[in-house]
């Protein structure tokens, strides 16, 4: 009630509407075979949301299995080095399985069990989502198939082996350029053929309604914890939030609880690849794409004038996707969130800087957010409280980074 005088008529937190739209974006653009299941899923999720038992079970798993809450850590040396804003990391890389992906997977597997589905499928890019899905499938004894592009299988080999150890079947996808988009196509094809018993755990805030809202809700634990933790640490809200954007689930999880706090400046960092000049050399769909329809929703997409999807490029497999969650597209157009892009090279430099200064090896995905923090923090006053979502750890990227730095490692 305290800020009721300054609250405007519109809230940024009420979407989507009953058609699954965030303004122009979102929706349910799927084949008829899937449509009945999408509606069933929406109903099941609404029921689950209203069931205290569901929340209690999920909270129990988040606490004792995933290890939440993740710490809010004051990055003292990085703050000193950059000489501006006071930088905090939200340590979601410390979660079980090494990224924020487990938050969503625990929510969705609970839903799958409620719906009595007996088989789990998923797509993965960097393999972080795949590992998280394989983990919860193992935990609940359900067979699991993960689709992964062959390019990604090569550059994320440690995660492929982890998934296999966890009992998942990893199916290489050779179509297209063999990255996340192609893996998602193949997962959708599997789902169409196996709707009767299969639950598709989508890893990001994209896909047909209700996925974007559902995944956001499961990830919002990140931002909610930050609110409490920052209150404890500094006695007030943060001033600045920064997170990387592929599909945008870690970012939406951090941002959503703060959308109506006008004092909080919010930055989403897209993968600028080799630069924004050529649409085939980056994955910054909101900085270099235009609205279109893919994978069940309308959103910003990298595409040519004929509406064919462009593969894009990023050093980070987790950001290598030509679209973005529809709610981000809406937040971009409304101007509530500022979306910027960072190049492969800048991300690689930030990866090394963070490792040396903080003793934390970040994944290449949050290294993009870090690279923007490097640019932004020095322009902000010292009492500006900045939170960056450290959404994944970099162990999986060590071999790939060695390659980019020209270091040969024996395997």
């Amino acid at each position: 009630m305290a800020n009721s005088t300054e609250s405007s008529l519109n809230s940024y937190r009420t979407g989507p509407d009953e058609r699954g739209r965030f303004g122009l974006y979102g929706g349910r653009f799927v084949a008829e075979t899937l449509m009945p299941l999408i509606l069933e899923l929406e109903q099941a999720y609404e029921d689950a949301k209203a069931d205290p038992e569901f929340h209690a079970e999920l909270e129990n798993l988040l606490t004792h299995y995933a290890g939440r809450p993740s710490p809010l850590y004051f990055a003292e040396r990085l703050t000193e080095h950059l000489g501006g804003a006071k930088i905090y990391f939200k340590r979601d890389e410390l979660n079980h399985t090494g990224s924020h992906k487990i938050n969503n997977c625990l929510g969705q597997i609970q839903l799958a069990r409620r719906m009595r589905k007996t088989r789990i499928i998923a797509e993965t890019g960097a393999g972080q989502h795949g590992v998280a899905v394989a983990t919860v499938a193992a935990r609940f004894g359900l067979p699991c198939v993960v689709y992964m592009g062959c390019t990604d299988i090569e550059r994320q080999a440690p995660n492929v082996f982890r998934m296999k150890l966890l009992g998942a079947e990893v199916i290489p996808v050779t179509a297209g350029s063999g990255t996340l988009k192609d893996a998602m196509n193949e997962a959708l094809r599997d789902w169409v053929a196996n709707v009767h018993d299969t639950f598709y755990i989508i890893g990001t805030v994209a896909g047909p309604h209700p996925y974007p809202a559902m995944v956001r809700d499961f990830q919002s634990v990140i931002g909610e914890e930050v609110r409490t933790q920052m209150e404890e640490a500094e006695g007030r809200l943060p001033d600045t939030l920064v997170a990387c954007i592929g599909g945008g689930s870690n970012a939406m999880g951090l941002f959503h609880p703060f959308l109506d706090d006008k004092s909080v400046a919010i930055y989403g960092v897209e993968a600028g690849g080799l630069g924004l000049g050529n649409p085939e050399e980056h994955c910054a769909s909101m900085n270099g794409g235009k609205p279109g329809v893919l994978h069940g929703n309308r959103t910003y997409l990298l595409q040519n004038d004929d509406g064919q999807i462009i593969e894009g490029h990023s050093i980070s497999a987790g950001l290598d996707y030509p679209g973005v969650g529809p709610e981000h597209s809406w937040l971009r157009d409304t101007g509530r969130v500022t979306y910027v892009a960072v190049t492969d090279k800048e991300a690689l430099a930030a990866f090394q800087l963070c490792t040396k200064l903080e003793g934390i090896i970040p994944a290449l995905e949050p290294s993009h957010a870090l690279a923007h923090v490097e640019k932004l923090a020095p322009t902000l006053p010292k009492d500006n409280l900045l939170v960056m979502n450290m959404c994944g750890r970099g162990d999986k990227d060590v071999f790939a980074v060695a390659g980019h730095l020209g270091v040969e490692m024996e395997t």
């Binding site: 008829e32 075979t33 179509a175 053929a193 994978h295 004038d305 509406g307």
Partner: protein, 279 residues
């Protein structure tokens, strides 16, 4: 308004047989071969022509049609060229219904209003757009119907009794029954199951029902045709194109003749009287 599709299905009904609906992708393997093939299809016995609008991410299609989309795009096919192909076809054929099938994004960016206008001008009769369900009818279905195009909806094994009326509501021309839960050209449909489902749909609508996804041989077509008004064959035709490429991935000589050969056998099978086995 009576469309070419309505007239054709009325004529088929009078003849007492199911029609042959052929699917090929526009521009596969290249513009010239694809146009030549398009012109040959009615002569070979195709009653309704379905032409795919190639898309980079055909999520409802199996490997055969995915590859055909890729070949067409690689050869430079665009939506504008697809509509030009329809115009060239229509100049020589005023009777054979032609339906464009594909995915929403290339239409959305065209954009929708201009696409519908250009379809009408080129002589397109209907649209099948896989990823625009009834829930999104105002996007494309309603404006297409208003412009006089048929909007053909897919009904699937998962379309239950509760949902069928919503699927049928804004459907026109014919209903496309997807005979398997799955993607094109993969599993073989179970004939008795298909017959039951087609009967169920026909109990709810006066529209003709055509059956597709997984029908490959003349024998299959004949069996599936019983009780239906049309049978769609796509992957089997597209696989012939795949098997007749030259070293540069262009159509080698004889592609049209070989595809037309299978179309002739399919058409002949649909003209056979109902088999005693099925009765």
């Amino acid at each position: 308004m009576t469309t070419r599709i309505d007239k054709r299905f009325a004529a088929l009904k009078a003849e007492g047989r199911a029609g042959l609906v052929t699917f090929t992708t526009a521009g596969d393997p290249d513009y010239d071969t694809s146009l030549q093939l398009l012109k040959a299809l009615p002569r070979a016995g195709a009653d309704v022509i379905e032409m795919g609008m190639p898309f980079s991410d055909p999520m409802a299609d199996g490997p055969a049609i995915q590859a055909s989309s890729q070949r067409a795009l690689k050869a430079g096919q665009t939506m504008k060229k697809t509509l030009a192909m329809v115009r060239e076809f229509r100049a020589g054929d005023q009777d054979t219904p032609l339906v464009l099938m594909g995915y929403y994004n290339p239409i959305y960016v065209y954009p929708v209003d201009a696409f519908i206008k250009d379809c009408v001008e080129a002589g397109v009769d209907g649209l099948i757009v896989v990823d625009v369900p009834p829930e999104e009818d105002d996007e494309l279905c309603i404006p297409a119907l208003a412009a006089g195009l048929n909007f053909i909806r897919l009904a699937t094994p998962t379309t239950d009794a509760k949902r069928l009326p919503a699927v049928l509501r804004n459907t026109s021309g014919f209903v496309y029954y997807v005979s398997i839960a799955g993607i094109t050209g993969t599993k073989a449909p179970d004939a008795s199951e298909v017959h039951a489902q087609v009967a169920r749909i026909k109990g709810q609508t006066d529209l003709p029902v055509a059956v597709g996804f997984g029908v490959k041989t003349p024998e299959q077509a004949r069996t599936i045709a019983d009780g239906a008004d049309g049978v769609v064959v796509g992957s089997a035709l597209v696989e012939i194109i795949r098997d007749n490429l030259d070293g540069d991935g262009k159509g080698a000589g004889g592609t049209t003749e070989k595809v037309a050969g299978l179309v002739e056998r399919l058409a002949a099978a649909l003209r056979e009287p109902q088999s005693a086995a099925v009765k």
